[in-house]
Subunit: 197 residues, 2 copies
DNA sequence: CTGCGATGTGGACACTGTCAACATACCTCC
DNA sequence: GGAGGTATGTTGACAGTGTCCACATCGCAG
C-alpha cells in the first residue's frame, strides 16, 4: 500500500513519529517542532493534527520510543552476564542495569531528555520492572536483606538517574570520559555497599 | 535615583532579572519569555537586549539566583544541627545537605529546573563546596574512610539530584507526600550505608 | 552648554503552535 | 458500480515568540 506520491500517505502517523524521533535524537525536546517534522515527512504543516492532539501528544509518542530503547539497552546488558555464582550473578546483573541506564543516557542524550520531559511513572513500566526484577534476584540470592527491599527501586533509580542527568545534558556533560567512567564505577560501588549488610 | 516614570529606568537590569525569576518560579524555564518579562517590568520588548545578549543569557542570570537560593537552603539546614558527638554530627550534617537539596527542588520546582537547564559545574561552586565540606567533616570525624572520599561528592550528588528530578518535575511528581518523605529517608539511609564501612 | 555614548522604543522579519475552511481519497452500502 | 460519508491532507489565517535595525531620548564629560 506504499502510495507515497498520492494525496493520502498510507502510514503518516508512523512516519511522523519517526521524523520526530530523529529530531529528538539530534536536538532534544525543544528541537521537536511540528512544522519541521512535517517538512521532513514531506507533508504540509498541520497534517500532524489528524494524528496527534497537539505537540505534547507527539512528544509523548517520542518519549515512548525512548522508554523502549532504554529498556532494550537494559535487557541486552543484563543478558550478557555470564557469572554463575547466584550472589555474584544477581549483583552483577543489578550493576549492568545501572550501567545500561547511564549508557543509554550518554548515547542518546536528546531522546533521554524527551523520555523524561513529559512523563508519569506508568509510562516507565518497562525499565522500572527490569530494575525491580534485578532487585528481587538480589533478595532471592540472599544478597539484599528483605528488610531493605522496600523502596530499593527508588534509591537505585535516583542514584543512576541523577548520574545520567548530570553527565548527559547537565553540568557534568563536559567531564572527560575517563573521569566519568571512574565516577560511574564508584557510584555503582556505593550503591552496592548501601544494599548489602 | 528611583525615576520610575522617566525614560531611563535607572535599574532595569536588576528589575528584569527579578521579573524573570518570578516567571521561572511560576512556570519553569519555558515560561521565561523575554516579551513577558518586559511587560511585567513595564518596559518595551527589546529593552532587555541592552542588558542581556539573548534569552539564554537572561536564563543564566536566573539560574544563578537558583544556585544561591539552593546554597542558602543547604546552609540554613546544616546550621540547625545541634548534635555534639563528632561522628553523629558529621553524619547528620551530610544528611541535612541532602534534605535541603530535595527540599529546595520540591519547594521551587520551576527555579530548580532553570538552575540545571543551561549550566556548567563552575556555576554550582556554592552548593558543590558545601557538599564537599560536609564530606570532609565525615572523614575528619572518622566516619567516612578516606579511601572512599574520592568522588564521594558525585555519588551523593547523583543520588540526591536524581531524587529531586524524579519527584519535583519528573515521573514521581504526583506521588503522595507521605510516600515521598519515606522514600527520601530510605535513600539517605542507603547513601549513609554506602559511605560507612 | 554641547555633543556623544548609553539606554529605551517602534517596527519589521522569520518562525512557531493551533484553528477553521476547504480538497481529496478511500470505503461502505444500495 | 455508482453515491455519499468519513478519514485524511492542504491552505490560509492569527497570535505569540526571539531577534535585528533604525530611531528617540537621556545623562554625563568636555
Amino acid at each position: 500500500m506504499r502510495r507515497v506520491t498520492s494525496y493520502h500517505h498510507g502510514n503518516l502517523r508512523e512516519a511522523l513519529v519517526q521524523a520526530a524521533v530523529g529530531l529528538g535524537r539530534e536536538k532534544g525536546p525543544d528541537g521537536i517542532v511540528i512544522r519541521e517534522v512535517a517538512r521532513r515527512t514531506g507533508v504540509s504543516h498541520n497534517a500532524a493534527y489528524r494524528h496527534f492532539a497537539d505537540r505534547d501528544d507527539l512528544l509523548r509518542e517520542v518519549a515512548k520510543v525512548g522508554h523502549d530503547e532504554l529498556a532494550g539497552t537494559m535487557r541486552s546488558r543484563v543478558k550478557r552476564v555470564r557469572v554463575t555464582d547466584p550472589v555474584e550473578r544477581a549483583r552483577r546483573r543489578l550493576r549492568e542495569v545501572g550501567k545500561a541506564y547511564v549508557e543509554y543516557a550518554l548515547a542518546e542524550p536528546g531522546l533521554f531528555a524527551v523520555a523524561f520531559s513529559h512523563v508519569s511513572l506508568g509510562d516507565l513500566s518497562g525499565p522500572y520492572e527490569l530494575l525491580g526484577a534485578a532487585l528481587d534476584d538480589c533478595v532471592e540470592a540472599g544478597y539484599l536483606p528483605s528488610s531493605k527491599r522496600e523502596g530499593a527501586e527508588l534509591s537505585c533509580w535516583a542514584g543512576v538517574h541523577g548520574f545520567a542527568m548530570l553527565y548527559s545534558t547537565g553540568p557534568m556533560s563536559d567531564a572527560p570520559r575517563k573521569q566519568r567512567d571512574a565516577d560511574l564505577e564508584r557510584l555503582l560501588d556505593r550503591i552496592d555497599d548501601g544494599l548489602s549488610g
